[in-house]
Amino acid sequence: MKSFIDDFYKLCDLLKAGEPFAFNRFSDGELYILQNKELILDSSQVKVGEKVTDGIYKDEDHKRFHPEEHSFYRDRIVEAFRFQKKNYFKGLSCRCCVGEENFQWQLDFHGNYDKNFTWANLLVNGNYPRFICEMYPLFNNYKTVFVCNEKADLSVLPFIAKDFRVGYNAMINDYGLIETIKKWIDENNIEAYLFLFSASSFSKMAIHQFYEHSDRNTYIDVGTTLNPFMNMRLDRTYLKSFWLGEKGKDLDKICIW
């Protein structure tokens, strides 16, 4: 049976061994895009398909996807989702977080079962303390490139060799950065580097295209996990529980397959 903890240590072992891999995550936001639902996340509203609730998202997390207007970008996310290659790990939204129906929808939409399926939440929830204490120090073994929000302060992270910045709704507004980074990789013979991504849906397209282009580097979507080191908001419940001690069950949650 797949194990949330074993899968986490599988990535740690690859990092220790210096073996390149990609860890791409398709969370609920990407799930809705894959399902071709209109998605608006901003400070005034959260709209998923026809369902609208109050907005809670800050500037850097604003996202807007319209199925007809942005079909090009959805196609790129579909490609990232269906892409298969050795050591290309795809994190899916798990049944315990998005429900049985949505979980099964992802598997059906993907087609064949990929042995590299894993959890989108692999670095958070019950694995987050392990991520900070055991995986994060392994980043020091690499020259690291960070693709992240323009507001992030990276000065506490000792391993950063280069950074590329994105703004809000980067999936659409910063799509051109993918070609810029590919060119930088080629021109500088970048190999054995670690690329970290904290750029929402942009990360999914970029990780797929970079790993397809150059599989001698490692690419990890770290999401919001490093926010406390980057002077960014702790607005996820797992971050509030871990760093602020707020009540919550996320840190006890061992996701199931």
């Binding site: 204490c133 994060y136 120090p137 020091n140 080191f229 002077n231 001690g245």
Partner: protein, 295 residues
């Protein structure tokens, strides 16, 4: 066989000490396995997860950081370590009751040794320890209660094989030791910066993230660009090669940091340790263990 069982094998000093001890036994052809509930130790020495521990006749069991209430508890170690807190408290209460009336027997088909890596033995959180055959402390300065009528011995932990590198940096401070209130980590960082250190590197296990976010994260904004967080790294030589000074704010007689600073020509800023005796070599330490365990 020698089996070291620990209630924690996260990357902290006590785990490193147990890994070194295990490696030393095996290097001397005494079969030894380190068992722990976490996974950090698994690629550092001959090791296994605590759930795989099995007691066999004539084993020598070295126990660290696990609350046993009797020698027979060794047979149920994994459950003891993972027991929920409310049951744990109940278990301690239950275990104390009969001990007020009679002493717990020592085991007769295996040897039970308690190793105390940090805390004072007199204040050890173990409810009772009269069933251990021996107690090991790492420093004379650990307070061993006179009331303990159990054979005890003192020897420090093994020292890593460290050297002074040719190219030491200047004015780069290192903070070593778990990040927590008890270690006054934030005080060490500020002291280093007030002494004019260009950069402070935190080479520490994040034991208390709430303390980090409350006390250290604000310092990263107060002193922008001067504080780097590495976390705990395995390679001590690389760590000492990257720093010129170490800052420490608490007195820990058992800590190896001051001695490691000497070996690597790193300036140590911390409480003076009153034990001025010549440090023991790993060979001498091993001979103490050999004698005490009757190997």
């Amino acid at each position: 066989m020698i089996k070291i069982v620990s209630g924690t094998t996260i990357p902290v000093g006590s785990t490193v000490a147990l890994v070194n001890l295990c490696n030393q036994f095996n290097a001397k052809d005494y079969k030894c396995i380190l068992y722990g509930p976490d996974r950090w130790h698994l690629d550092k020495c001959r090791s296994a997860l605590l759930e795989d521990f099995k007691l066999q006749n004539n084993d020598i069991i070295i126990v660290h950081d696990i609350s046993l209430s009797s020698a027979s508890d060794v047979c149920k170690l994994p459950a003891l370590v993972t027991l929920p807190q409310k049951n744990y408290l109940f278990k301690i209460f239950k275990s104390l009751m009969p001990q007020m009336i009679w002493r717990k027997p020592k085991p007769d088909h295996f040897t039970l040794v308690l190793t105390c890596q940090g805390r004072d033995i007199s204040r050890n959180r173990l409810p009772r320890i009269d069933f251990y055959q021996k107690i090991h402390a790492v420093s004379f300065l650990q307070q061993i209660s006179n009331k303990l009528k159990i054979s005890n011995f003192i020897c420090p932990n093994m020292v890593d094989d460290l050297i002074t590198s040719e190219h030491k940096p200047e004015m780069i401070a290192g903070i070593i030791g778990s990040i927590c209130k008890q270690n006054n980590t934030a005080t060490s960082i500020e002291k280093a910066l007030q002494d004019g250190m260009k950069t402070v590197i935190i080479y520490s296990y994040l034991r208390d993230p709430i303390y980090y976010f409350k006390e250290i994260e604000p310092l990263t904004r107060k002193y922008p660009g001067k504080i780097k967080f590495y976390g705990f790294i395995d390679n001590k030589q690389n760590m000492y090669d990257s720093i010129s000074d170490v800052y420490c704010s608490v007195k820990k007689p058992w800590s190896m940091v001051a001695q490691e600073c000497l070996l690597t020509n790193t300036r140590y800023h911390g409480p003076e340790l009153s034990n001025n005796s010549e440090p023991m070599t790993n060979e001498q330490i091993f001979l103490v263990w050999k004698k005490e365990l009757g190997l």
